[in-house]
Subunit: 242 residues, 2 copies
DNA sequence: TGACATTATTGACTATCCGTCAATAATTGA
DNA sequence: TCAATTATTGACGGATAGTCAATAATGTCA
């Protein structure tokens, strides 16, 4: 491993700088405010230099997605390693997921863009794989908890139902809810005052429906969020406190 | 009510033609293939004429959204009027929702676009209201079934939980799942072979978790889809049979 | 150190697409 | 029939993605 020259370090740092600038623009000026000329101007480099780092606009957006997704898989990992019964560990994952969307509110904008048709055409396989890797890792962590619960006898699955079906339920429930929350001005006009609380509650109902023990009648399903959050993510919790 | 001249009818018909063309382009050529020049060329009118109908590109997309959403609210309405116990009626709504995404696979592309930041700026209030109306109607239909179930004693809600919380659970679960399904090549790489079946199963688990009677242990929760589909939507069912 | 090779940077340029509007064509009504 | 009204046209302006030959900076080696 060769040490890098000053120039090489400069280039490497700039890559991160581009991503930070792009993220800031997406957050504050919306998708239309995120354009190559604006990034170049903000960084006081020419457009060509930006294109030396990323071959197209889509690559920048994909790189942002990889950054946040890998942060999320780290958080999932930390949550899954917490001691406790299987249902508590799963609750930890839920805490991680919620904390994540609150820490990175712009993530769902990015997710929305990368999920649109014809986004992928010009992107590199390396980055595509990096993103898929994060997705698979997150899925695997959660499926691992389910399998663990199965082997401990905390939950049973009916014939023809696999752990991934349950994980898909958690995934679609949280993904759908957070996407709706992130892209609506307010949900109070349809009668939902605290959508995050609502998500937690509904997920616990689903787990109860699966018969995952201990059932939420045996513990305080809504009250434990803050405690678990403080225990696993004290640093991150401070960040969203404001 | 004045009868329209030939010219006026021609103009009215063209509006629908524009929408059909736009929908076809979005489906087959993706978002980037949907542009005003292409629409004008396909219809053999000039761009200016298209702009006489819709003041901007966003208005066309929004009009497509209103079309499909109002179709969906019709389907919800038909489903909710079916006789049966409250849980069967809710299952009917589920059938309608699933049938809808299969009939209009491009709808989630549209939904994704209209949910992106800075989409709404140039759109007209009339169309925005039309869309919100459909949303509120759908929500209201489902919330109505929940309230009905409450009054019949089929389900009880804990202190501090309102019917809309439950509806939000169904909404986010299905929205999330269908969005993931519509924008992924395949889910078999994460171990989910039949995601639609998985959604139905998970929703029934959630309703069981709410204690909504009859519980799915008392009926065939997975087997009833085809029967209900045939009963309420025989025509639509033929369309997706191919 | 200085001359030459390599690498990085620049910004003018092309292409594409949204949206405008003055000129032109078609339709209507008296 | 002809003037007024309405509809249609497509060239044009402006914004932005992406290219590439010219130029500047950096690295290498006698």
């Amino acid at each position: 491993m060769q040490t890098l020259t000053r120039k090489q370090r400069e280039i490497q740092d700039r890559e991160q700088l581009i991503l930070d600038t792009a993220r800031e623009m997406l957050t504050h000026r919306g998708y239309l405010g995120l354009n190559m000329d604006a990034i170049a101007e903000a960084l006081e480099y020419s457009k060509g230099t930006i294109y030396n780092h990323f071959s197209c606009k889509e690559e920048i957006i994909l790189a942002m997605a990889v950054e946040t997704m890998s942060k999320r898989s780290e958080m999932f990992d930390r949550a899954s390693n917490r001691p406790g019964d299987s249902r508590q560990r799963l609750t930890g994952i839920g805490v991680a997921a919620e904390l994540f969307v609150r820490l990175y509110p712009e993530h769902f904008q990015v997710e929305q863009i990368i999920r649109s048709a014809s986004f992928w055409e010009k992107t590199s396989e390396a980055r595509r794989n990096a993103l898929r890797g994060c997705e698979t890792r997150c899925m695997g962590i959660v499926a691992g908890i389910v399998r663990d619960a199965l082997s401990r006898g905390d939950v049973e699955l009916a014939e023809g139902v696999c752990p991934e079906d349950l994980v898909f339920g958690l995934w679609s429930q949280t993904f759908g809810a957070y996407a709706i929350i992130a892209t609506s001005d307010s949900l109070s006009h349809v009668g939902i005052e605290d959508p995050f609380r609502s998500v937690r509650y509904n997920i616990n109902r689903m787990l109860d429906g699966y018969g995952w023990r201990p059932l939420s009648t045996e513990f305080d399903d809504l009250g434990q969020f803050d405690a678990i959050c403080e225990e696993i993510f004290p640093e991150e919790r401070k960040l969203i406190a404001g």
